[in-house]
Subunit: 497 residues, 2 copies
């Protein structure tokens, strides 16, 4: 055994205290603990500047919270700082105002990185910009008030969804991004191959086209992890996947992206009823929304303020108008004492048929619900969610459980404000013969034989749903365009950064 | 306002109690609460069967835990069940044995899905298979004892990493899978385009090649989210991403996949020292590993047993031999009282040079460390982790912070048993002129101008690391091949399902 000589580059304590390596205090911790009288160091970005008679004030953010830290600069510190510049501040914590808020009386302010708007920084101080303008400067967007709050809420919501599902007994299973099948046969898929032609040449086998040489088959980006979950659920009982999903659609809609995130569950059921799937969805949305309301107050308030400002200043001219978010609205939608409404597709269609509204597209039983119809139904349900169940089989995917008379399937769409369809789910067809014949019709018998095999051995009935994660955030935050709730949006003709 | 008629398909209580919709009890809950004397229903898969004189016993699993539920079948129940079949069991909870374990005395057992091995189910009762054989039946793999435990530990570990980072103040930022740049210029990337030629024709603009018509640029699968994190960290201060990453390498190694998962962090630093990055890594690995040991005992024990069985039965002939996992080994590696070893690249190289070992490749200062060298260093550090720091600049990426004399960069590799390099990190170059000139040399000045812009306005020094998630699991569980710790592995010539 050779004993290594250990260098003394960084002599450290046996138990590493992570925080001891931070040389500055986080603003979230300062606001929480209010260490009045303490001398502290803070590092952050200047968000605004106000000159008063005796002092100049700057508001500083470090990303840890939506709240800004007020810093008072005595006259000996020249207030030559740009809004947007990063600074290190030394000073003493003191209180101000009737609510006992804290501020820093600065001893010293050091500029780390200046921010000169004349050099091309796209956001000028004291200006309001439209969401679309901000979106054109993606690399800087996380620095804006509204979007940094969106990102913090995104992170909190993602944790809340995972935490809730974990507590309900669901295991996370990472379904693959690369697949050799085009799940629902919609054709709107991206295909993938190595960029290097040389690599493909090296790897080519006889009988396999060069484009397919890497995997020996065509390879696509996933449109759903459901079928992989159907494999995993037969080992684990309750599973979910939560990650990126892709559609190669030429859509300019405010609700579609080429890359978005989807939460999908699958669980063993004790019958062919879709009821437990509805419960899984409803208990999840209630629990997660409550947790977000409890833990992201400052961020929700920040978004509300910017939205009001955008509305009054006319910065945003929107294709789809929504009111600024408010807590009562969120509670009304997701946390009402009444259970979420359940109606059959037939009932939903009858309501639309009887309506005197001048729809752009008249409802037709054979055609399903358009976005306009979905939003109409929700609006006239006091903006509360609606589970639409018992769908005509021809409107839904081949793997959904047929009713005995073959006319409907055990499927559900959950409709909510702002976005319409938020979740889609079903009980899966568990009849081997029926499933085999459907796959045969589609010429998928061989390719999907593994999917049928799942049901040939130790079969159980399962069901689950998929939820567009960005759509949940849109609905929660009253943000009309999906591009404004995802960090780096990809859509037709746009793949910035 | 129209009031919707609400259907009575599923009359429900105002507050949905998710568990009330489950018609059966989970085995994990049974073992936890031990409701002796209660009549219960269980649904699961038969894992084994033993005929005794008076009774037949079956062991049943439902995926909720690695522990099996023993079910005693009185003589009136004919024990004609296949191992692997799914069953519903009605019975009464009773205790047996000296430790007060519980079992079910069955009133009734109903087969839901049979499992006939003669029809082609690949796993026979009472047989041990090699990891490689099991891997060839991916759709059934989650049903095996070892792999269902791997999946449950994976899910626990993923939650533990996220939870730890959240508590340390890191926000999750979903960096995109689709990017318009080839991050480190390695060339080993996958390219992406819509599968539909018609769509590309419809979308083509003049001056853009048809292949690039969807996004108006070449598009790749991400090899790292780091550069996007560098944008987000300048709004949020501490960020991470945790998701799929891709390499188009023709590698048959036991450590590489075409699609794997990476955890990457980025945080604002107060200096150019890499010290805080080391602390972030070490505190994370300690905390997460402790949590896994605390909460997945039954799964760890199950993996250990199967590994011992595989070793003694000779089912697995491995390219790289490891001992079956054991808790002491895990503690020794990740939880030792001593801080993780830190040494410079120069020191590591000197140890290798002085060694009398007959390396396949002789260590050369200019060439960096091979896998063999990495594993040698760790083995001779009592299987404890080693941070290798102060790397020669030419061995590392262009964006890493240069030392004053330009010879080394503030970079780190963390070496561990089984896999060698587990994490790679650095402080990022924050000098605009230096970075611009490097990008200019590489002809990336225009394409990466956004990356330089991050530093032109309100700049701060940042640093972070990337960790291969599957490699962590390999090291933790002593599993030599990366394909055996990911649900649906993708590697050259293999994209099953």
């Amino acid at each position: 055994m050779i004993f290594l000589r250990i260098s003394n580059l960084f002599p450290r304590a046996a138990h590493v205290n992570y925080q001891s390596f931070r040389r500055f205090t986080k603003i979230s911790a300062l606001i929480e603990s209010k260490p009045v009288g303490n001398h502290i160091k803070v590092q952050g970005w200047i968000k605004s500047k106000r000159k008063m008679k005796a002092l100049t004030f700057i508001d500083v953010a470090d990303g840890s919270t939506a709240e800004k830290l007020q810093v008072a600069l005595p006259k000996n510190i020249l207030p030559q700082f740009d809004v947007g510049a990063s600074v290190k501040i030394d000073g003493t914590v003191q209180t101000f105002g009737s609510k006992g808020q804290i501020e820093i009386l600065a001893d010293n302010v050091e500029v780390i990185g200046s921010c000169n708007h004349n050099d091309g920084y796209p956001f000028a101080p004291k200006s309001t910009y439209s969401m679309e303008y901000v979106r054109q400067h993606l690399q800087f967007r996380p620095r804006t008030n509204l979007f940094s709050s969106v990102l913090r809420i995104r992170s909190c919501a993602s944790n809340a969804f995972r935490d809730h599902l974990c507590k309900q007994g669901f295991y996370e299973v990472n379904t693959p991004i690369l697949t050799s099948f085009d799940c629902e046969g919609g054709g709107e898929v991206f295909s993938v191959k190595p960029d290097s032609k040389n690599l493909l040449k090296t790897m080519a086998k006889t009988g396999v086209s060069e484009d397919e040489a890497f995997f020996d088959s065509k390879t696509y980006l996933t449109v759903s992890g459901q079928m992989h979950l159907e494999s995993a659920v037969r080992g684990l009982g309750q599973v979910y996947t939560f990650g990126p999903t892709f559609r190669a659609e030429n859509s300019k809609s405010r609700l579609h992206l080429a890359e978005f995130n989807m939460l999908e569950t699958e669980e063993v059921l004790s019958s062919s009823s879709i009821e437990p799937v509805l419960s899984t969805i409803e208990s999840m949305l209630r629990n997660v929304t409550q947790r977000i309301l409890d833990s992201t107050q400052a961020d929700l308030e920040c978004i509300r303020k910017v939205q009001i400002h955008q509305k009054t200043s006319g910065a945003d001219v929107l294709e789809y108008e929504v009111e600024p978010l408010n807590e009562e609205g969120i509670k009304n939608t997701f946390l009402s004492n009444d259970p979420y409404t359940v109606m059959s597709y037939k009932e939903a269609f009858d309501i639309l048929s009887r309506s005197k509204t001048n729809f752009k597209v008249r409802p037709a039983f054979e055609d399903g619900l358009s976005k306009e119809h979905e939003l109409y139904l929700v609006k006239h349900n006091s903006n509360r969610p609606i589970f639409v169940v018992d769908w005509p089989a021809h409107l839904k995917a081949f793997y959904m459980k047929r009713s005995k008379d073959n006319s409907t399937v055990a499927a559900v769409d959950l409709l909510v404000p702002v976005v319409g369809e938020l979740c889609g789910g079903s009980v899966r067809e568990d009849n081997v013969e029926l499933l085999s014949s459907v796959l045969k019709e589609r010429g998928l018998e061989e390719k999907m034989s593994w999917y049928v095999d799942l049901r040939r051995f130790g079969n159980v009935t399962t069901g689950g749903f998929g939820m567009g994660y960005e759509r949940y955030l849109q609905c929660l935050l009253n943000i009309p365009n999906i591009k404004d709730v995802i960090p780096y949006p990809r859509w037709p003709h746009n793949c910035q950064m």
